[in-house]
Symmetry: C2
């Protein structure tokens, strides 16, 4: 039996869920709602700068569950590849400066006009090999995020947790880990088996729902927990059985939720988190 207080002590607001808020606004919102952790995005981070952000977060006493995001490693042109590696080193530095050990990696899709999926996956592996030691030396893990196959073409060529682990396992777990995101992985017939395999490499656990009919913009197609088809309590138990007891981030890209009052979103998110991730169906 988990108490609500114990469950809520693991809740984290991924900033994307309250996309209208600046980082200080999101931090203040978490304080009002009693949410102890936050997943930070780089764009709002850059708006105020890393040093000031760190001060705001420390003053509030919030944990930073992750920094989103590095990645986009599939470019073919050598100059573009160098630029991507530099950008990822900057993201690693920012994660370290913020005091989080987790940089979420969205690895990138097929380059414009390319149909060479194996080639794109190979370039991701090559780039991870170049970045992993740099990350590890700074106390940051590259957290590979396998993405729903709806995004294979244009966002993330790592399509399954098994594939992400095949890559991650080539590196020490303090350099390369994985993200378990329910939206991306819930459909996979191997999800339980692969989460068990991921033990020791789970850097983040993110939740949001798969809703139907799918909203027209696939990037904004995620739903509040309970509005869709995912059995969150089941996946939470599988993740716990793999030894992960860290923060549970709610990350929802959804135009309707972004248009709502963010404080109301946080209240709903807490209620739904308790009802679906913990009590379960």
């Amino acid at each position: 039996m988990t108490t609500a207080a114990a469950a809520l002590s693991r809740l984290s607001l991924n900033q994307k869920t309250t996309n209208a808020w600046s980082l200080p606004e999101a931090v203040a919102g978490c304080l009002r709602a009693g949410i102890p952790a936050i997943g930070v995005w780089r764009e709002p981070l850059h708006e105020i700068g890393v040093a000031k952000a760190r001060a705001v977060l420390d003053d509030a006493g919030l944990r930073v569950s992750s920094l989103c995001r590095g990645g986009f490693l599939t470019a073919i042109d050598p100059a573009d590849r160098r630029k991507a590696l530099d950008e990822n080193r900057a993201a690693i530095d920012e994660a370290a400066a913020l005091g989080t050990d987790t940089l979420v990696m969205v690895v990138g899709g097929l380059p414009e006009g390319s149909r060479d999926l194996a080639g794109a996956r190979g370039r991701v592996a090559d780039a991870i090999a170049r970045l992993a030691p740099y990350a590890g030396e700074r106390g940051v893990r590259l957290a590979l995020e396998p993405m729903h196959p709806i995004f294979t073409a244009d966002r993330g060529v790592l399509a399954t947790l098994g594939e992400a682990l095949d890559l991650a396992e080539q590196f020490p777990p303090d350099q390369v880990a994985v993200v378990i995101d329910t939206f991306h992985l819930w459909w996979d017939p191997q999800v339980e088996q692969q989460i068990a395999r991921a033990a020791g490499r789970i850097a983040a656990f993110q939740v949001c729902d798969w809703i139907t009919p799918l909203p027209a913009d696939t990037l904004l197609s995620r739903g509040m927990m309970g509005d869709g088809h995912i059995d969150f309590a089941h996946l939470r138990r599988v993740v716990e059985a793999a030894g992960y007891t860290g923060d549970i981030e709610v990350e929802i890209f959804n135009a309707e939720i972004w248009a709502a009052d963010p404080d109301q979103t946080l209240r709903q998110m807490k209620d739904r988190y308790l009802a679906t991730v913990w009590d379960g169906p």
Copy 2:
């Protein structure tokens, strides 16, 4: 070196690609375009009846590459399950009467309000076990169609070829086989390995493209070959290496294509088929 004539001798029009045409119209269109085979759908088949359809197809000398579709086997209510089994037996009978050995099976999504994916998959397996001998006795294979994970919730809980094969392999290959559809499977990091495993069980090979941005209606989100991200020649070679040298069906659900002149669609389809499935990138 494959000649265009040899390649075109394997081309099949899946009726859905020319959704505005009745079955006799589609047959006449195939004759005008020199397309030797057709994948028939049950709804237009019922419009004219199986006996008349068979006469029209035989007069034209067209092969029937498949009948679409059986399935929808995930209902929980016993009466609904009996009804689904009866409906599938009728579809098997129709396939036999049309002279095709392939009934494409879209297995169904989660029942309304259910989040029990494992339960739905279990009910599919149970229903296939009940239908497989009936199909085999009539010379028809149940061709399980693993569907893109965009459809796991609402259309097909079999999400990968590996999962479909795990089920198919419980039965003789003349009872249960699989469909290789590029749209559904192209993203899978295991697709090559699983197609090789499918040797002897490939009942149909269907092609259409994954396009971005994805059209708003996910059911109509398929593209003409060459308009998207799939390397068709690569997958065709992998399928051939697994021993499949049968018909290659073009099946495209797309509102723009459905609104176009079907004869023009057939001309474009032939050109694109030669350029992408055969010549390749």
